[in-house]
């Protein structure tokens, strides 16, 4: 009798469990809203803490290379020439082909000048474009040049009439500028908004 009970038990459990499962799928078909979004047209909100592309506040950076040393994959390249406290920048680049977004470059920074933005779109058709230069300017800015000349002049014993002009401007630290930088990152990565 066991076999016969199994036989009919199989039929009934197959039919009932299928019906129940179909009930679940039908409920989803009719009631549940889709959880996916139409990606390029809409996006999920990205939390503030998101570890995305980097930006650099070049004004603050002192070329201590601690971030490069902290990097587990050696993707940060920094090159600058020191003229006293003024830096002549050659390179501050991150190779996003290597970067693993581990955030270890952020905490060591003594002047808190490197940050991670919430930008996460990295895809590009040009692999070379993935080596991202974070610098807003290279070499010496005019005011740096001027400051250097004044310093040299002061060293030579000459009196400098206009000391105020040598103060570095606060340009490059405002929020708008940050946004502009992010836009520049995206532009350089060859992406459209």
């Amino acid at each position: 009798m066991g076999a016969i009970r199994d036989y009919f038990g199989n039929i009934s459990s197959a039919l009932t469990s299928t019906a129940k499962g179909m009930g679940v799928t039908l409920r989803h078909y009719r009631k549940e809203p889709p959880i996916t979004i139409q990606y390029p047209f809409e996006r999920f909100p990205v939390p503030d803490r998101y570890r995305g592309l980097h930006i650099l506040e070049q004004e603050k950076c002192i070329d201590c290379k601690l971030c490069a040393k902290a990097c587990p994959v050696d993707c940060i390249e920094i090159e600058a020439e020191h003229h006293g406290r003024i830096l002549e920048w050659t390179q501050f680049s991150i190779d996003y082909k290597k970067c693993i977004f581990c955030e270890f470059c952020i905490p060591p920074c003594p002047v808190d000048c490197i940050h991670m933005t919430t930008e996460y779109e990295l895809a590009t058709e040009d692999p070379d474009g993935m080596v991202e230069d974070l610098l807003t300017w290279t070499g010496l800015r005019p005011q740096d040049q001027r400051a250097l000349e004044e310093a040299a002049a002061r060293k030579a014993g000459k009196v400098v009439p206009d000391a105020a002009a040598s103060k570095p401007s606060a340009e490059g630290t405002s929020a708008e500028d940050m946004a502009a930088k992010i836009a520049a990152i995206k532009a350089r990565m060859g992406k459209k908004d």
Binding site: T18, M22, T25, H28, I35, T36, Q38
Partner: protein
Amino acid sequence: MEALIGLFGELFGLEGTLALSAAYAVCIGSILGFVTVYSMFAIWMERKVAAHIQVRMGPMVTGGWHGWAQSVADAVKLLFKEDIIPTRANAFMFWIAPAVVFCGVFAGLIVVPFAVGVQVVDLHLGVFFIIAIASIEVIGVIIAGWASNSKYSLFGAVREAAQVVSYEIPTATALLVPILVVGSFRLNDFNTWQAEHHWLIFHSPWLAMAALIFFISSLAGCKRAPFDLPEAESELVSGFHTEYSGMRFSFFFLEEYTSMFVAALLTATLWFGGFNLPFVDSSAWHPALAMPIGIVVLLAKTFFFIFVQMWLRWTLPRLRVDQVMSMGYKYLVPWAFVALIATAVWDYYGWGWLPL
């Protein structure tokens, strides 16, 4: 068909064989067109049904409204894809297999009455013809699996052969049940019988059971989940069409969806009243009115069953190959025979079931 021959005679003065050929050409062309458009729609529908069951959206971009043109775009893409024949495949067999597969199901459609008078040939053995011609498909699949020279394809083909041949027994037996009641193989007779009496599904519990058995075994015949063993993408990569791409692959797709259509259409015609509306007697209507309504009604029923097929597919896991066999032989075949004999007894005594 006769109407078309007459039309050609009137319009172009064609007569005899010439008119016949022209009429056939038009019929075949329209069925081919129908099959193509239907398949595109069914694929789009399958994607949407799957997506909504799976809390997704499915195609949304192509063509604008809910991605309606996605299938068209896919078809165009498949047409322009490189036609790859594996180096060590048997090129001729590889080439001919999709055509063989497609011809079988395609030919089945010519006996289907879509509405009053909308039918290519009104065969006396319409049901039998569909069952017989649909079996050609298996040969094509075996050819495809063997010619691909891939082990996965071979496995898929052998599974398909075993499965489809086995499931033809319950399919055909279940089909015999309504045939027994109506007393005809002609598909049109089912429409008229059900218009005069009642839908066959309500005739007796045995007919309802036969409908269920037919539906399940037709799923196996169409290689739909949970019986998609020949494809079984998690076991056999893609089964018998692993090596196919582009246009040839799309033929297998067309075949799958067309055989789904045929199965759903048979269910609708044989058990669910065909192109008749429930509670409405349409036999006295003018053909110009009855024809479009009949087509719409039949297609609505058919698409409902296609929807159920999809719904099942996205609900159930796949059976194992021996379980498919045991289900066919241990469960479906005996119960199909039970339904057949019980219907014979039922009808002999003229019992009624539902107050119809």
